[in-house]
């Protein structure tokens, strides 16, 4: 069975069915009614003719019935004219007067027949209709028959009935179809606010929780649904905001005690103890920073006209991270950053993504190696290392929150790459991991498009980190 999911298609289907039924039944009914009306007209005409003849029928002084038709009337009923006939019968059915050549009854009547009866006769290929009425002129009952030849009946009425189908009946279907089209347009129009509300609802997300469906212009039947949805969104927003603020507040509140702890450790005389405590504080600080990053990214919306320079970002991050790399006896390098590579996006968050990738690379490589940031003019930024690489089975998992290959390894909560993925996806870009020729891993961020750089220098797009 066909299932119509849209209201409009349901309406169209039912409407079409209605059109089919109506365009068959309505002309039929009309035809029957017209036929009936035409018949009524004929019957009335017959009755009137009978009444007219009756006016000239009376009884003579001897009590015998007399019929003295005026010449014009007699002419009308004459056999030669052939359109109509009359006969006056006595109670036993014998004709007393008749316009017919044979002088008989038009139709034989049974004795004690109903004194009022319509009849129809067929003679060869022509037919006639008539009426038998009682002719009450006193004395023994008489019957008067009046008939009319079907061939010569009032032409106009019959033509209308006969041509009803070909001339008028067909109009039903087109009219109904036109109505359907109008109906569909009306429904489309009535549903337009719902379509608009759907488009709006599509934009509601973690970053845009303040949007609500408009009540204005909504069909009255839908307003309760809109209200209920909006109230549900209110509750969600409240819960969401509470959660978000808590995360952000918690991260903020943790930083000051961590700072105190960190400074206090700097005063510890036992260098070994201080160093190990410092490592713990470092990893905890990183976790707090990452939680704050995540909380912030949940609500982050990239401005529509924001432009970021991948070359500037690569250089900035390398500059920022170089001292850290050198302290681990590693180094960082940048290639392809001589010319600006502009993409639509937020330079700060992209910088954080690149920083996380570089930090991740540094934590997986041996001293003496280089972590390389490479920018390609087609809108790609890669971070390449000489570490152990990422096994293909893990290439999806590493971007999950709190995923760690080795749970025993301290100092890494497994949030860094999840943050990278979130930032990259926010920009409509893609991130992938591959093996680097000669050993190591390549993390590549690919943007869907680059913006053609103006000849002017792009220093205004540089990030501040």
């Amino acid at each position: 069975m066909l299932k119509f999911r849209s209201v409009v298609s349901r309406i169209i289907a039912l409407h079409l069915l209605a059109i089919v039924v109506t365009s068959i039944c309505m002309p039929l009914a009309l035809y029957m009614m017209l036929n009936y009306a035409a018949q009524e007209l004929h019957h009335r005409a017959l009755r009137e003719r009978a009444a007219e003849i009756l006016r000239y029928l009376d009884r003579g002084p001897d009590g015998a019935p007399r019929l003295s038709l005026p010449a014009a009337l007699a002419q009308f009923y004459s056999e030669a004219y052939g359109r109509a006939a009359y006969a006056v019968l006595d109670a036993s059915g014998n004709a007393l007067f008749s316009s017919l050549a044979g002088g008989g009854a038009i139709i034989r009547v049974r004795p004690q027949a109903t004194p009022f009866e319509y009849f129809a006769l067929h003679r060869g290929d022509t037919g006639l209709v008539g009426v038998t009425v009682a002719a009450d002129i006193g004395g023994p009952p008489l019957l008067l028959q009046v008939s009319e030849d079907l061939e010569h009946r009032d032409v106009l009425i019959d033509d209308i009935v006969a041509e009803f189908f070909t001339r008028v009946g067909w109009i039903t279907a087109p009219i109904l179809l036109l109505l359907l089209v109008i109906d569909v347009l009306i429904f489309r129009r009535a549903l337009r606010p719902i379509v608009a509300a759907s488009a709006l609802a599509e934009r509601i997300g973690p970053a845009r929780t303040e949007l609500r469906l408009p009540e204005e212009g909504m069909p009255q039947e839908v307003v309760p649904l809109v209200n209920a949805v909006n109230q549900a969104l209110d509750r969600l927003e409240e819960g969401f905001r509470g959660q978000r603020e808590f995360t952000a507040d918690a991260a903020h509140e943790l930083r000051t005690p961590l700072a105190i702890l960190r400074t206090q450790i700097d005063t510890i005389a036992d260098r070994e103890l201080a160093s190990s405590l410092r490592d713990d504080i470092e990893s905890m600080s990183r976790l707090v920073n990452q939680l704050l990053d995540i909380a912030e990214l949940e609500t982050f919306v990239i401005g529509e006209d924001e432009i970021a320079d991948l070359a500037a970002i690569a250089t900035e991050i390398a500059t920022y991270i170089a001292p850290l790399a050198l302290a681990q006896r590693k180094t960082v390098a940048v290639t392809g950053a001589d010319h600006p590579v502009l993409v639509c996006g937020n330079a700060d968050t992209l910088g954080r993504a690149v920083r996380n990738l570089v930090e991740n690379a540094l934590s997986h490589t041996a001293p003496g190696t280089t972590v390389e940031i490479s920018v390609v003019a087609e809108g790609e930024l890669s971070v390449m290392d000489r570490g152990p690489g990422v096994p293909s089975a893990e290439r999806e998992q590493i971007f999950r929150r709190f995923w760690r290959r080795d749970r025993r390894r301290a100092g890494n909560a497994g949030l860094g790459l999840a943050i990278v993925k979130r930032i990259v996806e926010m920009h409509g870009a893609a991130i992938g991991v591959a093996d680097r020729p000669g050993g190591g891993a390549i993390f590549s961020i690919r943007f869907p498009a680059v913006i053609e750089a103006d000849p002017a220098p792009a220093h205004q797009f540089e990030t501040t980190l």
Binding site: A251, H252, R255, T256, L258, A259, I260, L261, R262, T263, Q264, D266, T267, R278, I281, S285, N289, L292, D293, E296, A314, T315, A318, T319, A322, P323, L326, T331, V332, A333, V334, T335, G336, A337, D348, T370, I373, T464, L465
Partner: protein
């Protein structure tokens, strides 16, 4: 060297004061924005360490008032607000540097020293690292206690590196400083000068190392 520390957490302020004092700073601590503003109006400090989250006002208000008075004392902001918006706000409103909590005391001291070494400051005319010292006024280099003759351009490169020791100096920044902004420099000219300087420093026994970060720039650090 007189330093004003504005930090509302008394324990943290105490700890920082001890650490900074050990690094040679004379530290005054103010716990509120009002006290800090008053202290800044009446005294002259060489440098200010300003926490943003103060109980009575935002640290940025204190900074704003200072800059409004055309008080150019270098200010380093301490903040628990890690997000970039806050960082940019801090730098745009006239801060010279910022540190996000928590941080290493060494990092704070290094940043403060870097701020004090900036051109325009009276202090830090002698830049020191490892066993070398560069007198930026006399254009003289001492390795150990021995004066060594370097070419003017070598000294210029060394000065740029030492002013930002421990941090990366961009290659084009070095080029600009050597040749001036108007001149077009062959891309490997800087490399040639750094290479010569590195070789020269090694020959005279300087315990510093110039790291090359390909595509980024150079960084000078003490040899370990």
């Amino acid at each position: 060297m007189r330093l004003l520390l504005v930090e509302d957490n008394e324990r943290f302020a105490g700890l920082l004061k001890r650490g900074l004092a050990a690094a040679g700073f004379v530290v005054d601590v103010m716990l509120t924005a009002r006290d800090a503003a008053a202290a800044l109006r009446e005294n002259r400090f060489e440098i200010v360490v300003l926490d943003l989250g103060l109980p009575d006002a935002d640290g940025l208000d204190v900074l704003g008032e200072m800059r409004h008075r055309e008080d150019a004392t270098p200010v380093l902001i301490l903040t628990a607000r890690g997000s970039l918006d806050a960082r940019v706000l801090g730098l745009q409103s006239g801060a010279d540097d910022y540190l996000v909590k928590p941080f290493a005391l060494e990092e704070l001291v290094a940043r403060l020293q870097a701020l004090l070494r900036r051109p325009g400051n009276f202090l830090g005319v002698t830049l020191k690292l490892g066993n070398i010292a560069l007198d930026t006024v006399a254009r003289q280099v001492l390795v150990g206690d021995q004066p060594i003759v370097f070419s003017a351009r070598e000294i210029s490169v060394l000065e740029q590196l030492l002013r930002r020791s421990g941090r990366v100096v961009a290659k084009n920044l070095l080029a600009d400083n050597i040749y001036g902004l108007s001149q077009e420099v062959g891309s490997n000219a800087v490399e040639v000068y750094v290479h010569r300087l590195r070789k020269h420093l090694a020959e005279v026994g300087a315990r510093v190392q110039i790291h090359t970060l390909r595509g980024v720039g150079y960084l000078i650090a003490e040899e370990k």
